[in-house]
Amino acid sequence: MSRRITPFLFLIPTFLLVTIFVLFPVVNTIYISFLNQEGEFIGLDNYAEIFSRKDFWNPQALLEGKTHSYGALIHNGIWVLIHLPLSLFFGLLLAVLLREVKGGAIIKSIIFLGMVIPLIVGGILLRFIYDDRAGILNGFLRVIGLESLARTWTAFPHTILLALILGSVWIWVGFSMIVYSAGLEGIPVELFEAAKIDGASRWRTFWRITVPMLRPATIVIVTMTTLWELKIFDIVWVIQRGGPGSASNVMALDMYMDAFFNIPPNFGTAAAIATILTILTFGVASYMVYQMVKS
């Protein structure tokens, strides 16, 4: 008897905390997303409403090119499309280069600081880099004679999103770099030696041995990075709260504004946005679990 319940005794505290503060709220959020302000069941109306809002979903703007606010959902999509490949590229580049460079370990520790500082501070750092007069980016532009371009890059609707995305590459690259570094350590040296004896060039060795052997690391980086991009909040909040207009609006921020900032609050649409966000993150997580089970 006691033998059979022991495993569950160990799990009781976990079970209580996770049920009350994670599982129940998740189910409750889905439920709330089907209710109106008065608590009446309205089916998918909240979902219909958020997709009719220009600051959540505005694909026309992409085609017309008149405004620079495509809606939170599309902004998150753009974030993934730009941030993910750049994070993979720079992470791998730094991992490979710094392995062979003197002082590489110290440089790595400093680059990794992006993963240690609060994201709120990360946002402040980006705002400072992009500042019209005090920022180093504009200082650099002035030195190379592109003074006409100098501006506070986060203050304009047509530059803020790209500025934030590129800046967030700077913050996040420590992660992909460190995972790739660990992956590189795991590749048996014999493989490289064999390739060398066979006379393979560095380039060929890289593509035929290094990249395929790093596949597990790549899968992890792709998953974790995409999740991070979908959930992005702090940076956007501290720089412009989704502005100017809604040019840097993202899903997590849109959800917060609906529930806790706008007057009157609208929990129904906020819950609907959260549910959409979670469906997307679950898609990414399922991909990871599928890859795990496969290998």
Binding site: F10, L11, P118, K231
Partner: protein
């Protein structure tokens, strides 16, 4: 002929090494300079940095920005830092204890629904904070734990459990079971085996969890933003947007505040660097 070949090759290799060094240092500088900029700006008066902190014609370093941030009106960092510690320390150790028990159960016992429960735990890791916050806010408001650190600590603890259990179960799986089996034959109870044998062997993993969880809770902005309201209860990262203001940015003040708030996570990172990095990599790669 052969000799020439070797010389040519040597030259190429040397050229390649120099090239990698140049690229590596150039790329690394891009990553390092902004940190330097914030530290510089935090200790120089605004007029000195307004045309670039990299100009040193006039250079009068001062701690004035740090004092002003520390004593900022309404939300002084002196109090916010203390508040952050009060929340972060329990939010670090409660979930680790709970997760260690849970992970041990997953790693050492066979029971029905185990694999299903574990898969659920893995998937729960990816739940966004936004997905739980409305019901949690309602719940806290109803039981009087809104604007109360106990509520925030409970939420942080619960939210950390999935990844910590995942991490620790993987770690327990690598420990040899023979010692535990021998102890069981000698009549030791499961709980005794757990805290006398397993936990001491788990210290490196616990160091990783402590470092990561402490920094994550310290850095967290969203939960505190929703669950804490009074100015005197605000946590350190929450104070930064208030110090930033809406229009004019006093860079000396804002950068000094950023440095103060960041000192704690950086100190943890410096002291526990090996465990910190190992935690991130193990949580990632082994998964």
């Amino acid at each position: 002929m052969r000799k020439l070949n070797i010389v040519a090759r040597l030259k190429r290799v040397k050229g390649f090494t120099i090239l990698t060094h140049i690229i590596a240092w150039a790329v690394s500088l891009i990553w390092i300079i902004p940190f330097l900029g914030v530290v510089m700006a935090s200790m120089r008066p605004y007029p000195e940095i307004v045309n670039g902190w990299w100009n040193f014609e006039v250079f009068n370093p001062t701690l004035d920005g740090f004092f002003r941030a520390w004593n900022f009106p309404n939300t002084p960092l002196s109090r916010a830092m203390l508040n952050s510690l009060i929340v972060t320390i329990p939010s670090t150790f409660i979930p680790i204890l709970v997760a260690a028990l849970g992970a041990y159960s997953f790693a050492r016992f066979k029971f029905p629904t185990r694999d299903l429960l574990f898969l659920a735990i893995v998937l729960l890791q990816t739940i966004p904070q936004q997905m739980v916050i409305v019901p949690i806010y309602n719940m806290m408001a109803r039981v009087g734990l809104w604007d109360n650190y106990i509520g925030l600590i409970l939420v942080h603890s619960a939210f950390a459990l999935p990844w910590q259990i995942f991490f620790l179960r993987n770690f327990f799986s690598t420990l040899p079971v023979e010692v535990e089996e021998a102890a069981r034959i000698d009549g030791a109870s499961h709980f005794k085996i757990f805290y006398k044998i397993v936990l001491p062997l788990t210290l490196p993993a616990l160091a990783s969890l402590t470092a990561l969880q402490f920094v994550w809770v310290w850095n967290d902005f969203f939960f505190a933003l929703v669950l804490i309201g009074s100015p005197e209860k605000k946590l350190a990262p929450q104070v930064i947007p208030m110090i930033r203001g809406r229009l004019f940015i006093d860079w000396q003040l804002v950068c000094a505040a950023s440095v103060i708030v960041t000192i704690i996570p950086i100190a943890i990172y410096v002291v526990l660097q090996r465990y910190y990095v190992r935690g991130i990599v193990a949580g990632a790669v082994k998964g």
